[in-house]
Symmetry: C2
């Protein structure tokens, strides 16, 4: 099996510090910028990260370990961040995410999962059987995917300002 | 004019800390992963960031301020990072980038550019007339574009490991 817990944990542990270095005290115009329409700002992404810590990754891991394929995961609300972040500051969200992520990774390590555990199976509401390895890989890739989304969203604020250089910046055309 | 120096400087100043929080002591398999073929690793991106600080952004700004449209910018070598980073560690590259970026932003602030300066014009070797505002916006967007590239590259290491979740992770299909 390709999956290695010791490889994904360093990524999971770093995400709060990456977000902190990037967003804390950054001017609001960057934090609140979207790509238009229903697209998400960095602020929305932060709320989404927190929601994942509360209801998605570790809760689903525990469902697999306790119930296997017998209990379908609760569906994940991909819009809950709007309730989580309402009336709160970026600093508060950064702090909450850092605390929840550190605790969740601590809990994950404390489970002391063994190689056979990573092949244990649960049931996803949309696509059926999934494994512990797939869940933990997705947790990690999901972090990276949202970092990418935030970078793209912030870059596009400058779409007009870069003038002819847009041609050399693939991020502007995504 | 949309461009605001006070808006882009906080982004430029944060990039070294973002990279540091993300990459320092991260296992090598993440730092060296590419998307295959000639695509760049996070390590290659770091060398590219350093090369930009040495030869691209501030040197081009000085060419505009000193020579205007009379002197075409030196072409930018988008592959110089392979020479810069050869035989060096990630930690060394992070340190060098942080030092160079801090110095360049300090120099930029010391220039005390006034609103009229942002409209001053230089000449790009490929697409002709560009302005100071466009150059400084591109410096900033270029940072964000490479953060996005690094996140995508690292996420794709997990392309197979996430199993059916790939469908919910747009980053896997870019």
């Amino acid at each position: 099996m390709h999956f290695q817990l010791a490889s994904v944990i360093p990524v999971l542990l770093r995400t709060p510090a990456v977000l902190d270095a990037w967003l804390r005290d950054l001017p609001e115009e960057w934090i609140m910028a979207t790509e238009g329409g229903e697209s998400w700002s960095a602020f929305d992404n932060l709320g989404h990260f927190i929601h994942g810590e509360k209801t998605d990754w570790m809760p689903r891991l525990r469902i697999i370990l306790e119930h296997g394929e017998d209990r379908v995961f609760d569906p994940y609300d991909r819009f809950a961040q709007f309730a989580i972040s309402e009336g709160r500051t970026t600093a508060q969200l950064l702090d909450e995410f850092a605390t929840r992520r550190a605790k969740n990774v601590e809990d994950l390590v404390a489970l002391d999962l063994q190689p056979a555990d990573f092949a244990r199976r649960g049931r996803h509401p949309a696509f059926g059987v999934v494994t512990v390895a797939q869940l933990l890989s997705t947790w990690t890739a999901h972090d990276l995917g949202h970092l990418r989304q935030m970078a793209r969203t912030m870059a596009k604020r400058l779409r007009e300002d870069v003038g002819p250089w847009a041609e050399y910046l693939p991020v502007m055309n995504e």
